[in-house]
């Protein structure tokens, strides 16, 4: 009894409190699984892999979602870093020109980012004159201006991932989502700027109620809406080994998260994972446009 407890104190691994005593074979630890995964996928030179999926869904007649994906790889000399730009924008239903808003947002943003990276691409020792987060903020503001001009009164969500080296910087407005999927599970990186999510955060309604709430499409923050825009911007290590998943609510609102993660973790490759995700959303009724980008950066 004392011995056991001292092991706790010394940090030795004893059986967890809830251990199942009848497990006959020892499963691989998370770390071992990760090592196996990493081993099989080692790529030289390092590169950002991705695949996309998109569908208008089963109940809408046109697509207001837009997506963009770009991966740059420089092989050869050492000291090169992969660069990836991935964006999903979901034009707002109930507004005119939702698809104009989402495509304007994406094109403006991509053009801005590529301009900013041009000197860096030409000469990697050239320092960027803005921090990555400032760059993201400026690009989103630029997109905001463009959307306001091109489609006044419309709006769009925008979730952008800028992968540079080992870090990913996320810029986010609205209720499209970014997930990190690793260690056999996943976590939501972004926070929905939706009324229902807010009510849920405040404890006014449960997550079950939120899922069927009639106002679940109402956003309190979107690109093209309002003069002041406060995007969420943050930087985190790219999930390795693992995946980054961007998607519009046409995907996440109809597939439970656990299934979402399982599709990704069990698919044979990135494109088939994306196609399966889109198919699953359509099978679940496909009430909205569906967009997904799945990104991986093997070590």
């Amino acid at each position: 009894m004392k011995k056991n407890f001292l092991n706790w104190l010394r940090g030795k691994k004893t059986k967890p409190l809830t251990a199942q005593a009848d497990v006959s074979t020892v499963p691989l630890s998370e770390k071992q699984v990760d090592e196996v995964l990493a081993e099989g996928q080692r790529l030289e030179p390092q590169q950002v892999l991705y695949a996309c999926g998109q569908s208008v869904g089963k109940q809408r007649d046109h697509n207001e979602d837009n997506l963009f994906a770009l991966s740059l790889t420089f092989g050869g000399e050492p000291g090169n870093y992969p660069l990836g730009i991935f964006i999903i924008a979901d034009g707002m239903g109930g507004h005119q020109y939702g698809e104009v808003a989402s495509s304007t947002a994406i094109r403006t943003m991509v053009a801005y980012l590529l301009r900013a990276f041009q000197p860096f691409i030409a000469n990697p020792s050239e320092a960027l004159d803005q921090s990555i987060q400032d760059l993201m903020r400026a690009a989103i503001n630029e997109a905001q201006r463009a959307v306001t001009q091109a489609a006044p009164g419309s709006g769009t969500t925008l979730t952008a991932a800028l992968v540079l080296g080992q870090q990913v910087t996320i810029g986010h407005v609205g209720d499209s989502r970014a997930y990190a999927i690793h260690h056999g599970s996943g976590e939501t990186l972004t926070r929905d700027h939706s009324l229902v999510k807010r009510l849920e955060e405040l404890g006014q309604i449960s997550s079950e109620e939120a899922a069927i709430h009639p106002q679940r499409n109402v956003l309190y923050r979107a690109l093209g809406q309002g003069e002041v825009l406060e995007p969420d911007i943050f930087t985190a290590p790219f999930p390795q080994p693992g995946y980054l998943l961007l998607c519009s609510d046409g995907l996440w609102s109809v597939i439970p998260e656990i299934n979402l993660f399982n599709f990704v973790l069990t698919a044979k490759d990135l494109p088939s994972a994306c196609q399966k995700l889109v198919a699953a959303a359509n099978e679940a009724g496909g009430p909205d446009n569906i967009s997904v980008i799945l990104i991986q950066m093997p070590i």
């Binding site: 009894m1 990555i132 400032d134 080296g165 080992q166 955060e201 405040l202 404890g203 930087t235």
Partner: protein
């Protein structure tokens, strides 16, 4: 002949003061009595020079039936095991578990304070809403920690005022994990809990996280209404509206408590996070949150102040930081000496004289102490005797602290070079030329060396001293960098905290402070802590570059923060050493020295060591 429940008297009585358990814990007093035994305050004799108090919880096994006896011991052991795995500032730490005869003991952190029930009873009139709100938010924090425990959430199941200690700083500590247990979804348990505080479903044996939410609501209700729910019919809070009893309670807070106390779990907050969010929202609305953040805890400014365990006087200012190694503290002084001082009593073991002021932090490797001096040398002396082992000469004053890695000691100098010296021979392995003095302390991580330079250059070198990348700040980088999660952080005299990609050197974000800084950042749990000449200590979110909080001192903060447990320690040129809760930025205590503090504190084994320009090195209880 047969040991039964009818044991002789000594088997059932309270321990007398002076009783020594396992040759280590001297019982001082009884601080609580429970169903199975008493809780004592005791002194731990393993710390002869410091008065270290512990709480000893006793369980006397009086059951005659061997099966019952075994169950009782197992339950007590389960509490020990649960506590041993939990590490949270609001949960007592556990030190030891042992049995003597029919008694089992658990030694835990001693909480100097009172339980909340005593606070409620002993307060004339109602407790202030702000104060109770502060406790409620902290209780949410600790329940959130338990509910998100892996692999299974832990349900406390017995939240009530008598299980909450309120310490002298007016913070809460959750005690008595006797019936807490890991929760498995869908599993039914037996009813244990305390009537009055427990929700309806717990009577059916279905206590999940929402049961703790109800009991927390009942606890706050009791604290604000002074109506003990054990004396009322169960689930009758609806008949005792809080504001009818205590009209001073705000509508906002009453609404939160009502939601927590809903009969049906589905009508309550669906997570402790949601409840905390609602409490914070209520506090923001009533202004309580602002008052809580700006005020110092009422007990922290006791007139007697904080007393050092000892102070050691040098012949001149201390501007550097101490090092702890095997029972001794090493510190350099502007009086040219490196001192070796007994950590327990502050008595000097030896001193080693250099020929210049010592403003750096010593480093240790295999019982050798490394120290840079303004006599342009890096000195290596024996930790035992203070006798020199070897000396390495640079051509400028050494104000950068040595860093030891991979068989080398790396140190910057005013001779515009970063030196890598073989740790055994004292021969140079390589030197890296820069354009200005190096006073920043190099950081070594992931086979890279990072260092700042007085003209604003920042360098990343590999282990052969080859440049990997370079970054330019607008003014000097005296601050010493640190790396976490692939990002290197440092401050500059240009008033900016930089976050650079550690592999490639591009800026991920910049954080602007009011003035320049030579303070070195400390990184933990996704927060960056750093001081600035604008008098503030900042906490910055590492992911978003947003300010989490800032704390104002009365002068420039050149000292560098350090974190120990739940507190941040940092000096200021106003002469104070500050102890601040690092999650909230709330002041816990401060200790005044008679001169500006520029060096960083060191905390080891619950003791803070800090040098001041008043010539003293102080040792304080953390």
């Amino acid at each position: 002949m047969t040991p039964t429940g009818d044991e002789p008297e000594e088997g059932n009585t309270q321990l007398e003061p002076g009783t020594v358990l396992v040759n280590r814990y001297v019982i001082q007093d009884v601080i609580g009595v429970g169903g199975m035994g008493s809780v004592y305050r005791a002194r731990d004799q393993h710390f002869p020079t410091v008065v270290k108090l512990v709480a000893v919880k006793e369980m006397i096994n009086r059951a005659p039936d061997p099966v019952v006896r075994k169950t009782i011991v197992q339950n007590f052991e389960r509490e020990a095991n649960i506590l041993a795995t939990l590490n949270h500032p609001y949960i007592p730490r556990i030190y030891d578990y042992f049995s003597e005869g029919n008694r089992s003991y658990l030694t835990m952190e001693f909480i100097n304070g009172k339980d909340m029930e005593a606070v409620i009873t002993e307060t004339a009139g109602f407790l202030g809403e702000d104060r109770v709100l502060g406790w409620a938010i902290e209780l949410c924090d600790v329940l959130q920690f338990l509910h998100s425990h892996k692999p299974d959430p832990i349900i406390f199941r017995d939240m009530k005022p008598s299980n909450v200690m309120v310490n002298l700083q007016d913070h809460i500590v959750l005690v008595d994990f006797g019936i807490a247990k890991p929760f498995q979804v869908g599993q039914k348990g037996t009813m244990i809990g305390t009537e009055g505080y427990s929700p309806p479903e717990q009577y059916r044996g279905e206590a999940g996280p929402l049961a703790d939410i109800y009991a927390l609501g009942a606890t706050i209700h009791h604290a604000l209404s002074r109506r003990d729910p054990r004396l009322e019919p169960p689930f009758s809070f609806g008949e005792r509206p809080l504001r009818k009893i205590n009209p001073a309670v705000s509508l906002e807070l009453e609404a939160v408590i009502n939601t927590a106390l809903q009969y049906s779990p589905a009508d309550r907050f669906q997570s402790i996070d949601a409840m905390k969010e609602a409490l914070m929202a209520a506090g923001r609305k009533t202004g309580a949150l602002g008052r809580l953040a700006s005020k110092t805890s009422p007990m922290s400014q006791s007139p007697s102040g904080i007393k050092p365990l000892w102070g050691f006087q040098c012949e001149d200012e201390i501007r550097g930081a101490p090092l702890y190694h095997e029972g001794a503290v090493y510190i350099g002084s502007y009086d040219h000496n490196l001192y070796c001082i007994n950590a327990a009593d502050g008595i000097m073991r030896w001193k080693f004289a250099t020929e210049g002021g010592v403003v750096t932090r010593p480093a240790v490797f295999e019982d050798n102490i490394f120290i840079g001096s303004e006599d342009e040398r890096l000195h290596v002396v024996s930790a035992h005797s203070g006798k020199p082992i070897w000396t390495y000469v640079t051509n400028g004053r050494v104000r950068s602290s040595p860093r030891i890695a991979e068989g080398h000691v790396i140190v910057g100098s005013d001779d515009l070079r970063l030196h890598a010296v073989n740790i055994n021979t004292g021969r140079p392995a390589w030197r890296f030329e820069t354009a200005a003095p190096i006073r920043s302390t190099p950081f070594v991580g992931q086979d890279m060396v990072y260092v700042g330079c007085e003209n604003g250059d920042f360098y990343c070198l590999d282990f052969r001293g080859e440049l990997k990348w370079h970054f330019k700040a607008k003014m000097a980088i005296t601050s010493s960098p640190c790396v976490a999660d692939g990002v290197v952080y440092f401050a500059s005299l240009d008033g900016i905290v930089y976050a650079l990609d550690a592999r490639a050197g591009w800026a991920i974000w910049r954080f602007r402070m009011g003035k320049g800084s030579i303070s070195s950042p400390y990184v933990t749990e996704g927060l960056i802590f750093v001081g600035s000449a604008d008098n503030h200590i900042y906490a910055i979110d590492a992911r978003t570059a947003k300010e989490a909080w800032r704390f104002k001192t009365d002068h420039q903060v050149s000292s560098s923060p350090t974190i120990y447990k739940d507190a941040l320690y940092c000096g200021s040129a106003d002469g104070n050493l500050y102890c601040i809760e690092y999650r909230t930025g709330r002041l816990r205590w401060k200790f005044a020295t008679k001169g500006p503090i520029t060096g960083a504190p060191l905390v080891y084994d619950d003791i803070v060591y800090i040098g001041s320009t008043d010539h003293f090195l102080y040792a304080l209880l953390a």
